[in-house]
Amino acid sequence: MSEFTFLFRGRDTNASPEQMQKTMEKWVAWFKDLGAKGHLKEPGHPLELTGKVVKGSQKTIIDGPYAEAKDVVGGFTVVEARDLAHAAELAKACPILEAGGSVEVRPIQKMNM
């Protein structure tokens, strides 16, 4: 088993409270399912959609990221899967896809000792 990070993009910020509640319930169910099958390493956290970016040797601090809402990472989760293909398969059930968002699946780089 290897570890992978899911990066979620495209949070729906215009949903009505009722819709949001439904979406939340779907997420909870999805995490529960991942956990029950032993794939959930760390549920992770949602992220605020803005913050600061510190850049370069000058260590300049700017507000940001100012990407479009659909491109900003809105949260992350760590899962365990057999391989990248399997991890991507797990991401297919993520409720964010129904709202037009995306899940970026990235293997966590580790040294094999």
Partner: protein, 412 residues
């Protein structure tokens, strides 16, 4: 939560208070997606809203004028946090709910607007839920609420619930709004369901708040609470196992909630002080007679007729007259009941009320005039407001045809 925040931001910033709640809610849901629901979601929401309120107050301190009576305390960083903290304490929240409830019952607002506002702001009902409860379109309710909020915001100041004069002057309107809210749940005109338990529950919760307040503990408040308990006790019997409406005369009385009956009788006793006799007293007394009768045959109809007489004197209405006539029929027979119904002056106001024709039908049926009875039931069917009522009346129509011996029916 909106009530607390409105206290902090001032009633003219009602929209801001709602935004903060909305924002707290969105944030909470985002976190709960990942972490699952906490054990006490509402406490969590309160804490989030409180922090957001502090943020807003710090950021906008110059841009907004907040609650005038709190203004200075909210301006200084020294007092800001403790004041907000205090306002979010459990006791203060109760007061805020009361303050908001009293403010919603503005005399300039129509009664329906007051009830809609209470449901929206204090009970957190969405526009479409309120539209469902009032058989109105969401657009119409939206309009009604927006207009009501504007009037409320224009008043600049929430009603001071510590002022005995203001409190007492507004109390009857609050009673009336809570009574309407309860009734809407109990025999409302909703197309989906004849009984909306959640409306009854909200009305009872808010009435309990009144009883917790030193100025709110009036005999009328107790009577209103008693009335609600005694009616709510019968709720489990109002709809039978197959989801059909069951009339008071047919109900399985073993299903009545005896705890609520006991509570209601206790409240009724507490209401019996002072010299004022309110309609709530009389209605609660009628309900208590029903609640005490273990079997329908044990009902003291004579006392009920007498109570309806007092009710007619206090607040005459065709519906009260109709219920009185039904009680007369129980005591003196269907002919006398029919006489009483035909003596009601403005029956045209009852034409749209399905239980008017249904009562006529029932009494004619008991006299054995099945054909006439069937006509009345069919007329009632024509104005039925939901499937439950429709099924209930269809059964009566069928019964007139197949000639099987039937049981009774009552309007209320």
């Amino acid at each position: 939560m909106v009530a607390v925040l409105t206290r902090i931001f001032g009633v003219h910033n009602l929209a801001l208070a709602e935004d903060v709640v909305q924002d707290a809610f969105c944030r909470a849901l985002e976190v709960w997606k990942f972490q699952g629901l906490p054990e006490n979601p509402s406490a969590w929401l309160m804490a989030t809203a409180k922090n957001r309120a502090l943020d807003v107050l710090r950021r906008e301190r110059t841009a907004l004028t907040f609650a005038p009576e709190l203004g200075r305390l909210l301006e200084s960083e020294w007092t800001l946090a403790p004041v907000v903290e205090e306002l979010f304490a459990a006791n203060a929240i109760k007061d805020d709910l009361l303050r908001m409830m009293f403010s919603c019952c503005q005399p300039r607002l129509a009664e329906e607007a007051q009830v809609a506002l209470i449901l929206h702001i204090l009970c957190g009902f969405s526009v479409s839920e309120i539209a469902g409860a009032f058989v109105s379109s969401p657009a119409a309710i939206e309009k009604r609420i927006t207009r009501a909020k504007k009037i409320l915001a224009a008043s600049k100041r929430l009603l001071d619930v510590t002022s005995a004069a203001e409190f007492s002057a507004r109390l009857p309107a609050v009673h009336r709004a809570l009574y309407l809210l309860f009734n809407e749940g109990y025999h409302g005109a909703s197309p989906e369901s004849a009984v909306r338990v959640e409306l009854c529950r909200e009305a009872m919760r808010l009435t309990a708040l009144l009883l917790d307040h030193p100025l709110g503990k009036t005999p009328e408040s107790y009577a209103l609470a008693a009335l609600m308990c005694l009616h709510a006790a019968r709720l489990p019997g109002r709809v039978d196992a197959s989801g059909n409406l069951s009339s008071l005369l047919d109900q399985d009385r073993s299903q009545w909630d005896q705890d609520l009956v006991a509570e209601g009788l206790k409240l009724l006793e507490l209401s019996a002080t002072g010299s004022e006799l309110a309609e709530y007293h009389v209605e609660a007394a009628i309900a208590s007679i029903h609640a005490r009768a273990v079997r329908i045959e044990d009902t003291d109809w004579k006392a009920i007729v007498a109570l309806y007489d007092s009710l007619m004197a206090l607040r005459p209405s065709p519906i009260v007259a109709l219920n009185r006539a039904i009680a007369v029929a129980q005591q003196e027979g269907p002919e006398r009941g029919l006489e009483e119904i035909h003596a009601i002056p403005d029956t045209d106001r009852l034409a749209a009320y399905p239980f008017y024709s249904a009562a006529l039908g029932e009494l004619e049926f008991r006299r054995g005039r099945r054909e006439i009875a069937r006509g009345h039931f069919q007329a009632a069917l024509g104005v039925a407001r939901n499937d439950m009522e429709r099924r209930f009346l269809e059964q009566r129509v069928l019964r007139c045809q197949d000639g099987s011996a039937g049981k009774g029916l009552q309007g209320k």
